[in-house]
Symmetry: C2
Subunit: 348 residues, 2 copies
Amino acid sequence: MKIEMKHGAGGSYMDKLLRDEIISILSSDGNVEVPLSYMDDSSVIDGIAFTTDSYTVRPYFFPGGDIGKLSVSGTVNDLSVIGAVPVALSSGIVLREGFDMDDLRRIIRSMRETLDYAGTRIITGDFKVMEHDKMDGIIINTSGIGKRSPYLERNFEIVNSYSPREGRWLLDRNLRDGDILIVTGYIGDHGVSVLSSREGISFETDVKSDVQPLNRMFEEALKVGGIVSAKDPTRGGLANALNEMAEKSQVGMIIEEERIPVRESVRSACEMLGIDPYEIGNEGKAIIGVVPEMADDVLKALRRTSEGMHSEIIGRVVKDLEYVILETSVGGRRIMERPIGDPVPRIC
Amino acid sequence: MKIEMKHGAGGSYMDKLLRDEIISILSSDGNVEVPLSYMDDSSVIDGIAFTTDSYTVRPYFFPGGDIGKLSVSGTVNDLSVIGAVPVALSSGIVLREGFDMDDLRRIIRSMRETLDYAGTRIITGDFKVMEHDKMDGIIINTSGIGKRSPYLERNFEIVNSYSPREGRWLLDRNLRDGDILIVTGYIGDHGVSVLSSREGISFETDVKSDVQPLNRMFEEALKVGGIVSAKDPTRGGLANALNEMAEKSQVGMIIEEERIPVRESVRSACEMLGIDPYEIGNEGKAIIGVVPEMADDVLKALRRTSEGMHSEIIGRVVKDLEYVILETSVGGRRIMERPIGDPVPRIC
């Protein structure tokens, strides 16, 4: 068997490969609070949240961002969505021989600006160069370590006063019947932006990537309290993230389609290209599950932040349902399936 | 300006690029105990040691090891040489579309075996696939987090009873006049092994890579105490590591050439290829600086371990000397210069 592009595209195809061939061999969960086998956005050991991502996006400059901003934001967000505050990041840069020095400088400066915005730093790094016939461009791995948000304890006290949970972190598996699902803004911007800037793809759009670090937004939401679960819908988009949360929590969901924020320009680009906006990646959005009693307060707090100003309640968690159901106001119902993979390859 | 292969080859050329173009922009050292600007093997923040490496070695199977064993060992060693015990590793795998599934399985199993030997684990990961015309083979990034070795406190009490230091970790910059330098075994094995298995290089050798995790060996040495500094001589080999330690510590060194352990087969391969065995990379060795009063005891402890059984005292630290000097028993003296880069590209 050979590796295919869809093995790396989020979605069910990648999920199966990782579970069967990698995690089953590497996983050793004893004494790990949030282990590899949970396949959550970060793991936790000895009170330290830990996460890693290798960024291979092409082109590495795209409307609204670049691979440097992406590499910092993506890792900050993987810490934020489990309820951790970033302590420090690492950066492993692999370049092709012949890479332009000015492009490298621009990427490094963009990393620095994003670190400053997020209030964190890179404290360790590595640098490799590969022959010109052995790779293309640049790959950046950023790993991150984080500590428990100071607001997480009280957040779970509020959760537990309404609906007790076992978890101490905002894990994918924490959703229960009745929880309210919030998405923190417009869906699909990143995937369309990256696609529109690829060579050979001929369409004009003003869509910019949503790439941004979400740690400040999460701080504001956790101050309110009542959040049970969160996830950033990157590869495979909203459809993948919702299905993954539902599967891990062993619940279903009912999503009101009209409430999902999608820009008109993203919708028309997706229609033209024949792809589903719910299946393409985002890099500055989160799905947040909240106990119903706190949903309006969390929504208000999110909307007061620049990152979450377009937040919407999009649906609710339903037990005794095996699917994620998309509902329209005129009574239409269809299953939102877990995609095989992201229709836009290598968005991150 | 364009990036060249030697920018990624350890040595002085890479050092300058990193300092001028990357670290000067990314570094923010406030409140970081061992910051990025130290360019040591790991950094330390909030008591957590943190390190990262991207592995691009070709071929990815070589005599004595493979990229999987290397990716675990290298990161465990970067933690070990500053005096940390590995807590957990991350793994970011990037594969080329078409990569053979059996090769992937073999690499993953090798990672697992090395993790088990080192007594640590991978708790978080990422997986990407690139188009067949965009990269070659496999790249693995492993980052690692570690905690302070339980023996480090007493180790420094012993150091300070003989020769007080400011440092609390085994940093490159900790060497002082009179310290004894130990190398923990044969030099050059990894570079020659990798080179011998490359296509188009026609020489026969029985040399196997020394790739191995050194955390157990460091535990035994730290139990004895008196260690001030340590470094693993990877890219750029012994010559690069010694010069880097000397520069950072603002001292010189006198190295007795006959005492440097080099296998006859490595020496003859290097002669044939016209390369310097002191400049090629190792992946299972350390240079250890010890206060003179404890040097024999540390040497004995190292020799009792399987990883360090061929350890030798190779020289001493001398203040008021600006160079690393190689001395022969017949009175010859020459400067061991810092290499521009490793003569064998991409050994890790």
